[in-house]
Assembly symmetry: D2
Homo-oligomer: 380 residues x 4
């Protein structure tokens, strides 16, 4: 790759901690092929840690397993699943050895498998705590999907287990590992928009099948807020760089809707941050899919929309005389986060989104539910 391309500059800027292989750059064909003279030949991959994927649902099948092809530091070597047929079919596809297919009963024996370095928990929320703790106890490092668990107490258990085992624990907040949200964070902190005044964040979609685990309270821990509103909550924190001190909320769930027998549908919530920044957020399982974050400064505003989709993210900056759309590469979020986790293990560093990050969101989610129920502001 050439040293001339503007794109290259952009790329490098976002490369820290982001797997190179994951970059699907939004640049013209011409730019990427134009320099035959001094082609940069990528190094053969170095040590790739072995990963076990626990839970073979749609997220694993459609996003996580394909992402390994783009990883520099991670390869999939084991599955843990309650469906042996599915696991064997996928094992053929992804080159996982039959002996490395575990079920939920013999999961703990993974401790004896030296091929497995890291475990990725892709189970329903209510199972994250147990399988994370068991994984850590088996001596493996663990990356768990968000939300980290159903309660702050469960999160604490997981954190404690990691400390005890001396292993890394990371929560899969994938937006922290992709260029658009990272650039938004940089912009918000840079002062280019003036001091931040308010954050607006909305995340939701219309959920379908009433029988899915996301609508089961025990498995999901809650409704839209736990699953998708957590993106807006987490963004409010990483865009402001602060922890909220107060929350307000309203919840509405359509009576009689077969999808919402156990969990909530819509949530609006407000956060007050110590600096005075307010955040106004929404979460929904009822509205047409939406994913928009805004950071409102005194001198300008940035808008991410869509802010959290797997691809196609867009970032605008509006100032007095112009609205500017930034051109950034779309990377594979999952490859990025897996390479980050592998890197932390290899270099013995703390992940950018450790267990404590997940615990904080669960503390706030609990307060949001309480605020809505009590009809009053809850202090954190």
């Amino acid at each position: 790759m050439s040293k001339i391309a503007g794109e290259e500059i952009t790329r490098r800027r976002f490369m820290t901690g982001v797997g190179k292989g994951a970059v699907a750059a939004a640049v013209p064909a011409s730019l990427l092929k134009r320099t035959s003279a001094d082609v940069v030949v990528p190094e053969p991959p170095g040590k790739k840690l072995g990963w076990a994927v626990v839970g073979l649902g749609s997220l694993a099948i459609n996003q996580i397993l394909p992402a390994f092809a783009k990883c520099e530091k991670a390869r999939v070597v084991a599955f843990v699943s309650g469906h042996p047929d599915k696991a064997h079919k996928l094992a053929l596809r992804y080159g996982v050895a039959a002996k490395n297919i575990y079920n939920y009963q013999n999961y703990d024996s993974i401790k004896d498998n030296p091929e497995v370095d890291v475990i990725y928990i892709v189970l329903p929320n209510g199972m994250h705590a147990e399988y994370t703790v068991r994984g850590l106890q088996a001596g493996k490092h663990v990356l768990t999907e968000k939300p980290m668990a159903n309660s702050p107490a469960d999160c604490q258990q997981m954190i404690d287990a990691a400390h005890k085992a001396g292993r890394k624990l990371m929560v899969a907040y994938r937006c922290r590992y992709e260029p658009f949200n990272r650039e938004a964070i940089r912009l918000a902190r840079s002062g280019e928009l003036g001091p931040v005044q308010m954050i607006l964040a909305d995340a939701g979609f219309k959920i379908g099948d009433p029988t899915q685990w996301r609508l089961n309270k025990q498995l999901a821990g809650g409704g839209s807020l736990m699953d998708i509103g957590i993106y807006a909550l987490n963004a409010s924190r990483y865009l402001s760089g602060e922890e909220p001190s107060e929350v307000n909320a309203m919840i509405y769930t359509t009576p009689g809707d077969p999808r919402f027998k156990e969990v909530e549908e819509h949530v609006t919530f407000q956060l007050r941050f110590p600096s005075g920044v307010l955040a106004n957020c929404s979460s929904s399982y009822g509205y047409f899919h939406q994913s928009q974050f805004r950071v409102c400064g005194t001198e300008g505003r940035l808008q991410l929309d869509p802010a959290t989709w797997y691809t196609g993210l867009r970032l605008w900056v509006e100032r007095d005389n112009a609205i500017e759309e930034r051109q950034l590469p779309n990377v594979d979020h999952f490859a990025s986060e897996m390479d980050h986790m592998s890197g932390c293990v290899l270099d013995n560093k703390e992940p950018l989104t450790p267990g404590e990050e997940g615990w904080r969101d669960l503390k706030i989610i609990t307060a949001i539910y309480e605020a809505a129920q009590q009809g009053k502001t809850i202090k954190l």
Copy 2:
């Protein structure tokens, strides 16, 4: 102006005989000039009611006075001002007779001026009630700027005075008289987006000069919420077509900022509507100017951004396979609302935004302040 239905807009856009001075159609030159054969010649204007403008501040000077040139049913014939020099200068510009320039002392004698049919109150908020009531008592019809007054009680007085005088009273909610917001209302009600689930509305700007009346509690009645947040509040009501039953709010005002000695800076507020629709809104005197409304249905979403500026409004509809920007004409909001008011007087009809509409917003604004102060949900 009731003719500015969506259908009318479309038809009118592609007609030669646009005629209405207020329509600045967003169509190519070529289309508007293409049919020389059968040009529609506009009728000479019919009866134009005589209007008095009370208060010659920047809104009057920069928006309202120039708008009369685009009116079919309104012409400016009198001024009421505390600054005779300014009034005389403007009178020369707009052809107002010197004898028709009043001050705040001799304002009541306007009752003897048969040239004046309608009075437009463009004074600071805290003066709306008094000058509206005096205008009505003088036997004139009154259009008053928003917010209608500083309190629901003042609004009630104004409504009562109109009833007693048998005169029309209208509040200048100009967004109700322009095509983009009207099309948004139509779309929201049409079911094209599926049932409405949530409304998101943000309106604010960074206020400047600390000495202006908007930052004086007695003159302004409050801070950003009274002045600009009221657009988000009003939109939540007209986009949902409902009256809210509960409100939540947070307020933050920068300590020590010379602009905010008396009035609030930022407000976030949430509204619950009887159907279950939630609205999440923000208002600000501190953030970079913003004006965005969204209506989130189950099958799609509309977004107005900017939603309330004098011109340049834009409307998008997002559905599964496409994001569509609607092409609608930008009209002069002030000319539209003045023609509407004149039409109501001429045809003895109730305005689309009568005094009661202003009173309702003030009731809710009062509740929002209370909710923020008490840290709890207030029922309406």
Copy 3:
């Protein structure tokens, strides 16, 4: 109007005392009303020159007559029309005295009317030359619509008549008098895009009524190129700042289409400029309305789309890392050009688009037709 420099625009946009009726600023309501303390009161209008409008077709009725309300230096005082009923109806609307209504027979007697300073020719193209020359001979200054005339020879006659009469002659290239095209010119010249490499310009629309004068060769002088493609041609010249040295072209006209018995439908044409810049342009009476100009530099590109409509123009600048949409005010193009012409008369200055500018376009148009017919490059 020479004040509409980029800097002026910016400054004006955020001033309270916008004053100039022509500026419909794309700024939030809030900004324009925010400073009540120090409102700038516009001066009463100074001397407004008296204008006669010759030809009361749709362009005059829908655009030009309403625009006078926004002029600082022009007012309409006379009509010249072959339809006395129409003229009298419009006279009532616009306050034109009955005695100031002329027909094509007594047009020359306008020389005795001291109220008329400037004549605006809004007739079919084939009549521009005659009525311009007669107007100049009557001692009046003349603004004529584009294209200036049906041939370079006619243009030359008009220029000569102006010189002989010692009066101003201007061609109504309205895009030169509005902020978006002016900012594009500034950007192209500024080097911000690197040296200009190529210009791409497309202008056309689907013409309707087969009986209109635009489709009559004698009245129109030609087809889409004369009427709408001239915008693309003129833009290639003002965006490059050069005069072309060579042209290539192709023409296609649908056989048997009742609209195109006399004039051409589609034209593609290429221009070579002395610096090496190439321009690639299209003109059409058959395709869906289109108006897009691009200036391609080595380091970036600007795009105007729509580039020439009466309102709603948009300007983007694309560079390596961002696509930026510039926020500029939409002004009334006709008010701007009429004020410019009045200003030139009052201050005895040469218009920005004098007769020579129209003559140059006609020379090139003639060459384009020749290139298409001969199937070869024509040198200019």
Copy 4:
């Protein structure tokens, strides 16, 4: 994958002939993970044909080799390269056996390697013919990069060699294998825009390093037209569905620029199609990267911009009342085209872009150069 997601519908629509694995869908996270209940488990890959990549320049390294991970029917098994170090390093990365690394001398012995089914020629243009013919003679199927060769005669040789060998020959026109251009073709043919009137297509970029093979006449065959303008040319043909009958052109190359000692810089060219459609196109090695295609119908217009980049393509449709941006998945163009080629081999079908397609472009390119040189329209 779920049956509910709107995205799924979109996907299926474009699935014919497009490798499933290549789809990186532009949908919200939520949609893709929402249906855990009935997850569709992909089949293990069936037979993947073995591919040899000939030429390990930047296009191979940065685009083609990574794309194999997304292929359903292709895997890389061999390299042909003049740089053994580079080849061995890449072999380690992509799991290519050392014995399957060839050089340009022993290339013909690939005929004895049963692992290799298809050869992908990624060499400089001037080498396509020789290496394609040698590959076909070795009994392998061949996919060659565009432009197919330096001359129509070379193209004909390649076609003849394929016929003689009874092997498939395909040209890598990747835009034919991705959803945005395919949807544009569908729209253009569907009549939704009315009959097509004109096509506008621009493709170019600012080339850098003067020493690269693209600027060497013998290796590249020509300048920007051969390399990047061919996208505009090819698009004019596939968007119109016709073969041009006439061409016009202008060329400009900056004198003294060290990059352009042998090949041309800018080209503008016009095509006339038998139906009367005109195409106006540009090609450049000098302007800021650009890639825009438009199809202008009588009732609407579509615009692709960027039209040809590896990712981030966008498609708009403009009609009377709205401008609509279509939401389509971005797929890996190279994976799609390789899967298509493998599929054609497996099913014994003719590729969508066979050798004849490449030959046609070269015929027209030759005519464009001739038209520019002679300054006249060339008939085809």
